[in-house]
């Protein structure tokens, strides 16, 4: 059940119709049942995984809350992490690692036939696993008391707007909203509408239409491509993945808002970032913060000197890459971003010693353009089907900038489909608040929404695609 499907909106209408007629406790039970139904629409078999993850963390948190013995508490925590990561490792990484291990052993003369399992990846497993782990770790750190009510906790884990592709909500933010009765404010519908419409626009008009350009590029043997086609195709992927993922997050925020929940902002116009660290403060913010709080800082953060900081940055980004999937391309993408962060940190420290003044606007613009291109190199690694393909494509970009008729069409499509989003984002970036449109006269909003709806209606994608991040 995709957010951009009629089925979802019928489901949502039924849930909302009942939701606003019942009390708080019944609302929570209704949302829990609806969330399990929503997830079950993909595959009922994997509901068991969510239930196991929920029960384990609910129980472990209660024990952590009750227990005062540090060694025992540590044991409980490790047990919970092992269960969650064990599920993740089995379903997401077993195939990759068994294949690579088999290849490695074969290369050193020890051919081993490891059992090959045809494992289907449960949708959204990385998201809800990280969400439940953050809860247990927060209870372990005594930043949060354990929840006593199992259905409330189950709803926190499975809340359908953000279940399959985030944002990865912290228990400290979302759980109180589950436990306390929701309060509806006059602006909630307006805010939800803004998020839903902009999200649908990003998904339907930008991401799904550009998918054809991107898929065609990566389906073509590199010997038949030119560097210009690769360059435009990678730009298209940058907007496709942004439209797809931020579109999902935005719709999730919108539908949650209408139900009285406030989900975190997961994207803040990331292609306006001037530096790698700023990019990660704008892109998939919930994952960046998770990795910072539960990986980077526990590893030592920047407290152990320059070299250790670099090591921590690299390790965090490498694992961040691996979180996206079991493939060398994701690892390379993570390593590349880790390297960018290290290089930026190195140059930034030198620069701040020389001057602390703010750069003039043209310089900031150039830095944004440079950062966008650095991000695009990462996207090439991320989207490529192999490192060989990525290397061949990078070589093409560096050596052959022939403008072919197909490249001109691709460029035209990119400008047509990504242009309106870029205009909207440039305007939003110049405003003091992300939801500035909500402060404007209603007629302005109506005009903007009308334009978005018309574009979605008149220029639909050939085939609606599943959200890219469902696979992670």
């Amino acid at each position: 059940m995709l957010f951009n499907s009629y089925a979802f909106w019928m489901f949502y209408a039924v849930v909302a119709a009942v939701y606003f007629r019942v009390g708080h406790r019944a609302q929570n039970r209704l949302l829990l049942a609806a969330s399990y139904f929503f997830y079950g629409c993909w595959d009922w078999r994997f509901l068991g995984l969510i239930v196991v993850s929920t029960l384990v963390d609910f129980w472990v948190a209660l024990e952590l809350d009750r227990c005062a013995n540090p060694r025992l508490r540590r044991g409980w925590l490790l047990g919970s992490i092992a269960t969650n990561l064990g599920l993740l490792a089995f379903f997401k990484y077993y195939g990759f690692f068994s294949q690579e291990l088999g290849r490695l052993l074969g290369a050193v003369g020890l051919p081993v036939l490891l059992p090959s399992l045809d494992i289907v990846l449960p949708v959204g497993i990385s998201f809800y696993t990280f969400q439940t782990m953050s809860y247990t770790i927060d209870v372990y750190r005594r930043q949060l008391p354990a929840v006593r009510n199992l259905p409330d906790f189950a709803l926190y884990v499975a809340f359908f707007p953000q279940l399959v592709a985030g944002p990865i909500e912290r228990a400290t933010r979302l759980l109180p909203q589950v436990v306390q009765p929701r309060r509806h404010h006059p602006g909630d519908f307006a805010e939800g509408l803004f998020h839903v419409l902009t999200g649908l626009f990003k998904k339907v008009f930008v991401a799904d239409t550009l998918a054809m350009v991107v898929n065609a590029l990566f389906a073509t043997p590199t010997s038949e491509l030119t560097g210009t086609e690769v360059l435009i195709g990678v730009y298209a992927f940058a907007f496709q993945i942004y439209g797809d993922f931020s579109g999902y997050s935005s719709i999730a925020r919108g539908v949650a808002k209408w139900l009285g929940f406030d989900l975190m902002e997961n994207f803040r116009r990331p292609y306006f970032a001037e530096t790698p660290s700023e990019f990660w403060q704008r892109w998939h913010i919930s994952l960046s913060q998770w990795l910072r709080d539960y990986l980077y800082i526990p590893l030592g953060g920047n407290r152990g000197g320059t070299l250790l900081t670099y090591r921590n940055l690299l390790l965090t980004m490498l694992l961040g890459g691996l979180w996206h999937g079991a493939a060398w391309t994701f690892l390379a993408w993570g390593a590349y971003h880790g390297l960018l962060l290290c290089l930026f940190r190195f140059f930034e420290q030198r620069r701040s010693r020389l001057s602390a003044t703010t750069s003039p606007e043209p310089i900031r613009f150039l830095r944004r353009v440079l950062m966008f291109h650095l991000v695009c190199v990462g996207w090439l690694l991320f989207r490529a089907e192999s490192l060989t393909q990525a290397a061949a494509m990078l070589t093409l970009v560096a050596t052959d900038l022939t403008l072919t008729p197909v490249a001109i069409t691709m460029l035209g499509m990119l400008a047509f489909y990504a242009g309106p989003l870029l205009v909207l984002e440039v305007w939003l970036e110049q405003q003091p608040a992300s939801n500035e449109l909500l402060q404007r006269h209603w007629a302005v909003r109506a005009a903007v929404y009308a334009a978005l709806v018309q574009l979605m209606l008149l220029f639909p994608p050939v085939t609606p695609s599943q959200f890219i991040y469902f696979q992670f």
Binding site: P405, T409, M413, A443, Y449, F459, P460
Partner: protein, 321 residues
């Protein structure tokens, strides 16, 4: 929920609804100007009435069913002339040829406008090429809703064509909205205008995509929908011809198709290689020009009127190119 709406964006939502309403009204007013195809879709009823008018003595009513290949490839005047030359008496010819359609659309069109209303022609010529007769969903299910289907077809549609809730909802909405139904026409016109080389570029991108996704092994095609269509027509005593039309790209006639034609007593006329039709007679790479259309129509008419029909025989002249 009502309170939530009342307190905030009511005016914005009403504006959006008004805009959608205005768009729909505009589309209904001007849809006929969008393309020849829309005008053609709107004439199905008249066309069916014309073909079903009582025949004059000795008159044969021929209905051509197909898509743009038939639009460009069947020369009605040439057909009438050629039939007259063969000594047959009068023919009345109509063409039902909506763009980008295949057997799924033809089945519902024939059923709605001819079979269900007892308006069957005497002869039905189904012009096809490549996989037009293979079982496959309609490329424009939203047009099925608005132009081809009746409410009574819903159970069959749900069983065979609209398998998901989304498909059914989209179908229902398209039945009500011309905007939803014809938006792809606006899209392609606008993009043609705005993006240099859009059609050719998209075709090239599609070629790259389908080359990758094409299945390496051949799975035998099925013809359930065609069987339904043929059974419907044959049940009313209609003489049916399946005309394999010439196109620049060569294609095979599946043995299963030949078998089905034999089984239902339908003539399969192989016009894939018509004498004199050359590759340069397909200016857009798919459709025949006027001279090729004359040659093809003549060939078809002769095949139909010949006492010994040249079913599944190769033409005696050299292939094009």
């Amino acid at each position: 929920m009502t309170r939530l709406l009342a307190h905030s964006e009511t005016r914005v939502v009403l504006c959006l609804l008004a805009l959608l309403g205005a768009g729909e009204a505009g589309m209904r007013l001007y849809e006929g100007r969008l393309s020849k195809d829309v005008r053609h879709l709107e004439t199905f009823e008249e066309l069916a009435a014309r073909i079903s008018a009582p025949p004059q003595a000795g008159e044969t009513r021929v209905l051509f069913l197909g898509n743009s290949l038939t639009r460009y490839g069947v020369d009605v005047a040439e057909f009438t002339r050629e039939v007259a030359v063969s000594g047959r008496e009068l023919v009345r010819v109509e063409r039902l040829m909506p763009d980008n359609t295949a057997v799924a659309d033809w089945y519902y069109a024939y059923r709605s406008y001819f079979a269900d209303c007892d308006r069957a022609p005497d002869v039905l010529v189904i012009g096809f090429a490549g996989g037009h007769l293979n079982d496959a969903p309609s490329r424009h299910p939203e047009r099925l809703a608005r132009y081809y289907c009746r409410l009574s077809h819903l159970p069959e549609l749900c069983r065979r064509d609209l398998l998901t809730v989304d498909a059914r909802t989209g179908f229902a909405l398209a039945g009500l909205s011309s905007l939803l139904c014809n938006r792809d026409r606006i899209e392609s016109r606008a993009l043609d205008l705005l993006i240099p080389g859009y059609q050719a570029g998209v075709q090239e991108l599609n070629r790259r995509l389908t080359r990758r996704t094409a299945a390496p092994t051949r799975t035998p095609p099925t013809f359930h929908r065609l069987r339904q269509l043929l059974t419907l027509a044959r049940g009313e005593g209609v003489e049916v011809l399946l005309a394999a039309m010439p196109v620049p790209q060569p294609y095979e006639l599946a043995p299963e198709l030949r078998q089905l034609a034999d089984e239902l007593g339908v003539r399969l006329i192989d016009c894939r290689r018509v004498p004199g039709v050359l590759p340069e007679m397909f200016p857009d790479g798919l459709h025949m020009d006027a001279s090729a259309a004359r040659l093809y129509t003549r060939f078809l008419a002769r095949a139909w009127t010949a006492s010994a029909p040249p079913v599944e025989t190769e033409p005696d002249l050299a292939p094009p190119g």
